[in-house]
Structure formats: C-alpha cells, structure tokens
C-alpha cells in the first residue's frame, strides 16, 4: 500500500494498554493476541483514520529518540502486519 494511504483501527478489536507503555491487541473473532512495544502502541493509539503510514513515521521520529532512517519502511511493515491480522484497515484515499 502507498505510504499516503490512511489507516484506521478495526473497532471490533480490543486495544489493552499495559504497564510501561506496552499494549496488547486482541481480536475477539479469531482469539488472536498481539503484543505491541511502546512504539507500536503509540501508532495504534493514533489509528483514527486521519493519518497515513508517512504521518505515523513523522510522529514516531518526533516523539522517540534514536529513530533509524528507514523508519517509514518499518512503520509500513508494522501496519501491513496489523492489517493482515485484521487489527486495522487501509482507507481509500
């Protein structure tokens, strides 16, 4: 998917914030549970349909230290994985 495509979390899945900014995603339809590190949890919290992969990459670069140059590629792979597991979907731009 192009980096400009907006992303929205699947509202029928559960986002559980845990301690130290880690989080769990739970898909009640499949029973799948997916652990998110603080960066993943930061992105998932902002998946309200108004932001794209590129926006997430910019926000991550702004908020975290030592962000690698290829952050957009990494964010893109992460979002792709969430979409593949039914935790999020791309919106038509």
């Amino acid at each position: 998917m192009p980096s400009a495509c907006r992303v929205v979390a699947n509202p029928s899945t559960v986002f559980r914030e845990e301690l130290d900014d880690w989080a769990l995603l739970f898909n009640p339809d499949t029973g799948a549970v997916y652990g998110l590190n603080p960066v993943g949890a930061f992105i998932r919290k902002r998946m309200d349909g108004s932001r794209s992969v590129r926006d997430f990459a910019d926000l991550v670069a702004e908020h975290f230290e030592d962000v690698p140059d290829e952050v957009e590629l990494e964010v893109s792979a992460f979002v792709e994985e969430l979409v593949g597991m039914g935790f999020a979907e791309y919106l038509e731009s």
Partner: protein, 376 residues
C-alpha cells in the same frame, strides 16, 4: 514477582447459584460461593459493558449450572457485544440442539466444558445422579456437530479411579475428542461431607497417577491437568529431579508460596455479584459489581494486594515445612485449597505437600525420578 495487568485479562463468573444436579463431590454448595440469590439480567449486562470498557478479553461462565438460566443467550450476547470471548462450564444435561446452534452462531465461544466421569452410565452416574450420562454425551455430540469446541473434564474420585483406561478410550477414541482434562474430587465443598465414599484415598491417588501417566504416554500427551493426580505427579517429578540435582536453596518462586498466578491476571465474581479473587476463594469478598468499579477493586483492594504478595512468603517460615529437603523447589500449592483445608490462603496446602504424600503413601522419593513409574 509477576507484573499485575492494568485490568484483569479474564473474569470467571458464577452466573447462577442454581444447579439441576447435586454431584456428591461438588465444591459449590457447601462453600461460601453458595449464595442466596442470582442477579437479574440487567445487572450482568451492565457489568459486561464495564468489562468491555476495561478491555477484558475473556469471560468464563460457571456456577451452578449456567444453562439453567433462561436468559443465558441474552447474557452471552452482552459478552459478544462487548468484544469478549467466552467459555461455559457445564454438566451438559441441559444443552439442546438449538443452544448448540446459538453458541456456534456467536463465533466467540472458546469452548464449552462438559463434565464426564465415566465411560458408562453406572460409573458416570455414581456421583452425578441417575440419567445424567446419556444427556451429557448427547451435549458433546450436538456441540461437536455444530463446530463448538468441547473441553471434557474428568473428575477422578474413589468410584471411577479404576475406570480411567475405559474413560480415556471412550473420550479419545470413541468420541474423537482432541484431548481431555483431569482433576480430583478433593476436600472442597460437598466432598467434605461425603469424603469416605468419594474422595481419593492415598492408594487411589497413587493408582490415579500411575494410570494417568501411562495413558497420557499411550495417547501422545492428550490428557491434561492443571490440578489433581496427573498435575501433582508432574509437579513432584520436577521437585524430586531438581532436589536430586542439588539446586540453590531458598530463591523464589521455588521456596515461596508462589504457585498461584491467577491474582495477577484474572478476577472472579460470585452469583450474588460479589467480587472474589478466584472461584476457589469465594469467602474473600472484595466488593460488589456495578457498585464498586472493576478497575478500582483490581488496583486498590488491600486483600488482593496481600494475595499478590503471597508469592514472597518463604516456606521455610512455616512450622509444617521445617527441615524439608524440597523447600527450594516447592511452591506451596493452590491458596484456594489451603484456605479450605487450613482456614488460611497464606499457608502451604497440605494436599500439595510432597513430603506428606510420601510419608502417607510409603513411597520413596525415587518413585518420582525420571524413568520411574509411580508404583508402590
């Protein structure tokens, strides 16, 4: 110590105090979980909305017998609406074709656990009552036909301990279940009144361990146990092996009352809506649903906090453990069982005590070394 989750991940609920049977070993009807009245539908539905807001993932409905509640489908819809999955613990006698179809249609059922204690009516019904076997087996068959996962629980007691090979053959070969789990009729609940005829004697426990370990080998690990003889045999093998290898003494989680992880990730509710730490600790009241907030109880109730620090209590501090070689590798057993047997959840459970079991059975510790069978 394990980290406490921000909210419980799972909730176990006695959704009713009523049951259509009176199995002789049932813990429920002589425990503090035997409460006066069930809550109305609306209160449970409001609670499920709160669970949804708190991102709870799973609800287990037990009792009593959940299927005696005519509003059970409405309650399950409330669970599904709040993005949770669920399991039901049942005696199986009230599960109809229509109910199985309903459960399948929700697509959120982790499993229905049906209790089966024998491969024939006479053995199964020896504790559960006449006419229950055929209905429970029918329940398994209709659930299977609708694709609802079935988990069978076999409670091992004095009257079926010699029938375990037939039970395994019936469940795994006959009904084609992927696995089944085992427990034991312990001194909880009604079993306290009928202990002579129902509870496992020391000889029975030895026989159950021997039989279940060998059946489990024959069936490729398809027999499970979180408690009872098979779980004890596994736990005690580990303790004896580590002790023989000479582990360091006194470091937790071995060496402390560390066996219960439940209080870090789940909570329970009695049929009258009272929060308790576990369905096996029904006397420790923590507040009431829809009056006391779930997250407040979970994060702030002093008794829950105290139960979590149970993990740090060293076994060496208990008189009954004095001089025991197994201290570094013992975890003290389930607090629910210690509460029933000793009156306190903050002591080791006598039922989980290897030293006591060896003394009572006359077995040598080498019985539990690798390669050795549990034989007298």
């Amino acid at each position: 110590m394990p980290r406490v989750m921000r909210t419980p991940r799972a909730i176990e609920i006695d959704i009713t105090n009523r049951c259509n049977l009176r199995c002789e070993y049932c813990y429920h009807f002589s425990s503090e979980g035997d409460v006066a009245a069930d809550l109305p539908t609306d209160e449970w539905l409001a609670f499920f909305d709160e669970l949804g807001r708190s991102s709870v993932m799973e609800v287990t409905l037990g009792g009593g017998e959940p299927f005696v509640r005519a509003d059970l489908p409405e309650l399950i819809e409330g669970i599904v609406r709040n993005r949770m999955r669920y399991s039901v613990l049942s005696n199986g006698t009230l599960i109809t074709e229509d109910m199985a179809a309903f459960l399948a249609g929700t697509r959120r059922c982790n499993h229905v656990q049906v209790s089966i204690d024998g491969a024939t009516p006479d053995v199964h019904e020896s504790c559960r009552g006449a006419g229950t076997f055929r209905k429970a087996v029918h329940a398994i068959e209709v659930l299977q036909a609708h694709g609802v996962p079935v988990a069978v629980r076999v409670t091992v007691h004095h009257r079926n301990v010699r029938d375990l090979p037939n039970i395994a053959r019936f469940l795994l070969d006959g009904l084609g279940l992927p696995s089944f789990s085992t427990n034991a009729a312990s001194y909880l609940g009604l079993c306290r009144d009928h202990a002579d005829g129902v509870a496992l004697t020391v000889e029975d426990r030895v026989l159950a361990m021997t039989t279940l370990e060998s059946l489990n080998e024959r069936y490729g690990g398809r027999i499970q146990a979180a408690a009872g003889p098979l779980a004890e045999a596994r736990m005690w093998r580990e303790m004896v092996r580590k002790t023989a290898e000479g582990g360091a003494a006194g470091d937790c989680p071995g060496g402390c009352l560390s066996s219960c992880g439940g209080v870090f990730s789940k909570l329970a509710v009695r049929a009258d809506g009272v929060y308790v730490p576990c369905t096996l600790l029904p006397g420790i009241a923590l507040g009431r649903i829809t009056v006391d907030g779930l997250e407040d109880v979970w994060n702030n109730h002093p008794e829950l906090e105290r139960l979590r620090t149970r993990q740090t209590l060293p076994l060496a501090g208990f008189d009954e453990c004095g001089g025991c070689d197994y201290i570094p590798h013992c975890r003290g057993g389930c607090p629910g069982l210690s509460y029933t047997l000793t009156g306190s959840p903050y002591r080791p459970s006598p039922d989980a005590c290897l030293r006591r079991f060896l003394a009572e059975s006359g077995l040598g510790a080498d019985t539990f070394l690798p390669g050795n069978g549990v034989t007298p």
